[in-house]
C-alpha cells in the first residue's frame, strides 16, 4: 500500500504551496508590509526628522541607458533630502516601451517606481499599477510641466504619473549628400530624390499607427478619446471623436498612397537604415546618436515635409508623446508610498530633467527646462521644435486603437482606386466604433427613435422581442403628427420606416398612449401602433387631461407606475388615449373609480374580471 507514500509527497507539496498562499493572504487582511519588497525599517527614525524617515528597499525600472544616471540621482536624493528617507534601490534596465507588458503580468512583482512611454498609460491605470498623485503633488506637477505632458498623465481629471520627458515625437533625418536643401519641404520632391538616387525613404507606415497618424493630423483629422475614472479606480474610455473617416481623411490617404506606392519606400523607423541605403528616416531624438555615427556631418534633421493633393498642400503632422514615471500602489504601506512619491517628484523636477538632457539628450517636459538655451540648441530637439506647430499631444488613446490603425497603410497600398481608399477608411471606422459597442445583444437590439416622447431623434427607446421577428416598445405617449422610425443597434445601418426597410418616417395620426410594434416578418408594412391602456382622471395633479401609461404585467392585466393618490380623487382607464373604449369601476363605460384613502398606489387593471376591473395596489 505504498500509495500512502505518493499521497504523502503530494501532501507536502500542496501544503508548501498553500502555506505560502495562506500567509500572503493574511498579510492582506492584517496591516503589514506588501509582498514584493521588504521594508527594513518602518519605524520613524529616532532623529524624528519626519514621519517618512526610514530606509526603504525599492525596485526601479528605467530605460537601459538611464540606469547609471538614475542610480546617481537616487544616491544624491539619499544625501540631500531632509526627511531622513534612505532608499536602497535596485535599478533594473527595462525599456520604457515594454514596461507595461511586464508590469501587468503581475503588478505585485513589478517595480515600485518605473518609467514608461505614454501609450501604456491607460492600460497601467486600468490594471491598478499606478498610484494617484496626492493633491499637493498634483498641483506642483501641473504648474511646472508642459500641459500636453500633464494631459498624457491624466485620466478623467486625476493625475496618475510624473512627466519625465517630452520628446517622444518624430521628425525627419536626412542625408545631406543625397537630399538637396530646397526639396525638404515637399514630399513629392523627396520621393523623387530618393528614387533618382536609388535610396530608401524610411517611414514606418506599415506596422505603426503612431507614424500613420501623421498623415491624418496633416489634413486636420483628429482622434480624440475621452476617459473617465471608474468607481473601482480604473479608467474607462467612454467616447471618441474620430474624424479619420472623412473628406480630409481621404486626402490624407491619397497623400499616403504616394509614399507607400514608391518602390523606395521602406517601412522602418531605425536610424540604422542609413547604413543600409536610406536617405531619409523618420524617427525621433533617441536615434540621433546612431544616425550621427553613420552619417556624420551629412546628417540633417528637420520637420516633416508637406504633401500635395488636388492642388492644396498639407504639412505632415505628428504625435507629440512623452515618457512618464509612475509609482506602484503600495497597499497599506502608506509611509513607503509617500516616500516613493517624494522620490518620483525629485527625479522629475527641473534639475533632474536637465541632468537627463545633458547626459542622454532627453527632451525635458519641465516648462523652465524647455526654455533653456542648451535645450533649444540641440539639433534633434530643434527639429522636434520645428515640427511642434504641426504636432498633436498624444493624450489618452484606447489600447486597441494602435492595432486597428496600423493596418491602414496596408489597405491603402492594396487599394486600386478612390473607392478602395474609402473602403480602407470605412474598415477603420467600423473597428473603432466596435470598441464602444459592447455586446452582440446590444448590437442586435431594436429601438424606436424619432421626435417622440419629448426627444428630437436623439434618444433610443428600447423594444423587446415578443415573438421571433416581432418587437414591441414600452407604452409611450404619442401625439398627432409626431414621427419616428425603428432601428437596430442604435445605428442607421438597419432601420425600418412605415413602408419598409429604410422607408419613410411613421407619422402618428392621433394623440394617445401606444405600444409601437415592429414586425420584421412583414417587411412591407413593418410598423404599427398597438393600443395601450392608460389611466386618466383627476389624479396626480392633473384633471382629466393626461394619460398615465399602463404596462402589461400578465395576460389581460395592466399596471401603472406607482403614484400618489388622495381620498376622493377619481379616474378611469381608457385605450389609445381616446374615450372610444374605456373602463370604470363597474366595467365598460362604467362609473369613475373613486380613491378611498391617501397613499401611494399602483393602478391595477384586470380585463379578466370586466365587471370590476379596477383596483389599487399599495406600493
Amino acid at each position: 500500500m505504498k500509495k500512502i507514500l505518493a499521497v504523502m509527497l503530494a501532501l507536502v507539496l500542496v501544503l508548501g504551496l498553500a502555506a505560502c498562499g495562506g500567509s500572503t493572504t493574511t498579510t492582506t487582511t492584517t496591516p503589514s508590509n506588501s509582498t514584493d519588497t521588504t521594508k527594513t525599517n518602518t519605524e520613524p527614525a529616532a532623529q524624528g526628522s519626519s514621519e517618512l524617515a526610514g530606509t526603504y528597499d525599492i525596485v526601479v525600472w528605467v530605460g537601459e541607458n538611464a540606469v547609471e544616471l538614475t542610480q546617481k540621482q537616487i544616491a544624491a536624493y539619499n544625501e540631500t533630502n531632509t526627511d531622513g528617507i534612505k532608499f536602497n534601490a535596485t535599478v533594473n534596465p527595462v525599456s520604457e516601451a515594454t514596461a507595461a507588458d511586464q508590469m501587468l503580468v503581475d503588478v505585485s512583482a513589478g517595480a515600485d517606481l518605473y518609467c514608461f512611454a505614454q501609450d501604456q498609460f491607460a492600460r497601467l491605470v486600468q490594471g491598478g499599477a499606478l498610484n494617484q498623485l496626492g493633491a499637493k503633488a498634483s498641483e506642483m506637477v501641473r504648474a511646472a510641466n508642459d500641459p500636453g505632458v500633464v494631459g498624457a498623465a491624466t485620466a478623467g481629471d486625476v493625475l496618475f504619473a510624473y512627466p519625465l520627458t517630452s520628446d517622444n515625437g518624430y521628425f525627419m533625418y536626412y542625408d545631406k549628400s543625397v537630399i538637396p536643401e530646397e526639396d525638404l519641404d515637399s514630399l513629392e520632391a523627396l520621393i523623387a530624390d530618393c528614387e533618382a538616387a536609388d535610396k530608401y525613404f524610411a517611414f514606418e507606415a506599415n506596422t505603426s499607427a503612431w507614424y500613420i497618424a501623421s498623415w491624418f493630423f496633416g489634413t486636420g483629422c483628429v482622434s480624440e478619446w475621452t476617459t473617465e475614472t471608474t468607481d473601482d479606480g480604473g479608467v474607462e474610455f467612454v467616447s471618441v471623436n474620430d474624424t479619420f473617416n472623412s473628406a480630409n481623411g481621404l486626402i490624407a490617404v491619397k497623400g499616403m498612397k504616394k509614399l507607400v506606392d514608391s518602390p523606395m519606400h521602406l517601412s522602418s523607423s531605425k536610424a540604422a537604415e542609413f547604413a543600409n541605403g536610406a536617405a531619409i528616416v523618420v524617427t525621433g531624438t533617441w536615434d540621433y546618436e546612431a544616425a550621427e555615427s553613420i552619417l556624420g556631418d551629412n546628417l540633417g534633421a528637420t520637420d516633416l515635409p508637406s504633401f500635395e493633393v488636388d492642388g492644396n498642400t498639407y504639412h505632415l503632422g505628428s504625435f507629440n508623446g512623452c515618457k512618464l514615471m509612475g509609482v506602484k500602489p503600495q497597499g497599506d504601506d502608506v509611509v513607503k508610498q509617500a516616500a516613493l512619491h517624494r522620490l518620483a517628484q525629485y527625479l522629475t523636477d527641473y534639475e533632474r530633467q536637465m541632468e537627463r538632457f545633458e547626459a542622454l539628450s532627453w527632451g525635458p517636459a519641465n516648462l523652465e527646462a524647455q526654455q533653456n538655451e542648451a535645450v533649444q540648441a540641440n539639433p534633434g530637439l530643434a527639429a522636434l521644435l520645428k515640427q511642434s506647430p504641426y504636432s498633436v499631444p498624444q493624450g489618452q488613446i484606447h489600447g486597441s486603437w494602435w492595432d486597428i490603425a496600423k493596418v491602414i497603410a496596408d489597405d491603402v497600398k492594396a487599394a486600386e482606386d478612390e473607392a478602395g481608399l474609402q473602403q480602407a477608411l470605412d474598415n477603420y471606422r467600423d473597428k473603432v466604433a466596435s470598441l464602444f459597442t459592447m455586446t452582440a445583444d446590444e448590437k442586435n437590439a431594436w429601438s424606436v427613435i424619432g421626435a417622440v416622447g419629448g426627444t428630437m431623434w436623439d434618444t433610443d427607446f428600447p423594444m423587446h422581442q415578443v415573438e421571433p421577428g416581432i418587437f414591441e416598445s414600452d407604452p409611450i405617449e404619442l401625439h398627432a403628427a409626431e414621427e419616428f422610425k425603428c432601428r437596430q443597434g442604435a445605428s442607421w445601418d438597419n432601420n425600418f420606416g412605415i413602408n419598409g426597410a429604410g422607408g419613410d418616417n411613421f407619422v402618428v395620426e392621433a394623440d394617445g398612449c401606444y405600444i409601437i410594434r415592429l414586425d420584421t416578418n412583414t417587411p412591407d408594412e413593418p410598423l404599427s401602433l398597438k393600443a395601450a391602456w392608460s389611466a386618466i382622471g383627476a389624479i396626480n395633479g392633473t384633471s382629466w387631461d393626461t394619460d398615465f401609461p399602463m404596462a402589461l404585467v400578465e395576460e389581460n392585466v395592466f399596471e401603472s407606475e406607482p403614484m400618489e393618490l388622495h381620498a376622493g380623487e377619481e379616474f378611469k382607464v381608457r385605450q389609445t388615449g381616446s374615450w372610444g373604449v374605456n373602463y370604470g369601476a363597474t366595467g365598460p363605460d362604467g362609473d369613475n373609480f373613486v380613491v378611498e384613502a391617501d397613499g401611494t398606489y399602483v393602478i391595477h387593471f384586470d380585463l379578466n374580471t370586466p365587471e370590476a376591473p379596477l383596483s389599487l395596489i399599495e406600493g
Partner: protein, 293 residues
Amino acid sequence: MNENTSLKRSMGLRASARISNSIIHILLIVISIIWLIPFACILLQSFRVESTWPVPYVIPETWGIDNYVRLFSTDFPRWYIMTFVIALVVAVCQTVIVLCMSYTLSRFRFKLRKFLMQFMLILGMFPGILAMIILYRVLDDLHLTGQYGNSLPGLILVYVASSGMGYYVSKGFFDTIPKSLDEAARVDGATRAQVLWKIILPLSKPIVIYTVLTAFMGPWGDFVFARYVSQLYPSAMNVAVGLQSWLATNAMTTSNYTMFCAGGVVVAIPVTILFMCLQKYYVEGVTGGAVKG
C-alpha cells in the same frame, strides 16, 4: 539474356551509379552550404567592429573581437553560468524522471497503466502557453522568482516537474529490449529494482545519453517562461532572455546587434560540440525509440 548483355548492363549500371553519385555529391554540397550560411553569417557578424547594427553585407570591413570583449562587461557571463547550471541539473533530474516513467510504462502491467498513457496523451493536446502564467504565480508564491533572487531553482523545478510527459521515445526504446532478460533475472531472485539497475540500464546507454542530451539542450532556448520568472531582474535572467533583452527596442538593436551575434556564438558552441560528440547515441536513441511511440 546472354552473358554479354548482362555484362553490358552491369557496366552501364556502374556508370550510371557513378553519375548519380556525383549528382548526389553536388546536391549534398549545395544543401550543406545552405545549411551553414546562417551560422557562418552569425559568426562573421560577431567579428564586425566597424558598426553595431544590422547591415546588408556579410564580410566585416574591420575585424576584431571587440564584441566578445564587450560581452564580459555585461551580465552575460552571469546569464551563461546560470543557464549552464540549470541545464546540468535539469539534464540529471529529467533523465531520472523520464527513465522512471518510461521504464515503468514499458515493463509493468498494472491497473491504471492504459489510463495513464491515454491521460497524458490528452494532456499533451492542451496548449501549454497559458499554463505558464499560472506556473509563474505558483513559483512567485513559493518565492522562486527574480525578486527573491531564486529564479534558478524555480526554473529547474518547472522544467523537471512536467518532464514525465516526454516518456514516449525512451519507452519505445525499452520496448525493444526483450522481456525474457527481466524474467530470467527475476527467476534468479533479483528484485525489480535490481533488474533495472543491473540488467536494463547497462543496455540502455543510447537512450540515457539521448535523454540527457535533449534535457541539457532544452533550457538554453527557453525565453518566454524564463522571462516571466526573471521579472526582468538582470541577475535572474537566463541566456535566452538576456540576449533577447538586447534587441528589445530599435534603439537597443542598433547598439547591441553584433554583440547579440557574439553572444549567440558563445551559447551555441558548447551545445553544438556536445551534440556533435554524442550524435551517434542521439541517432540510436531516436531510431530505437521515437518510431515506436
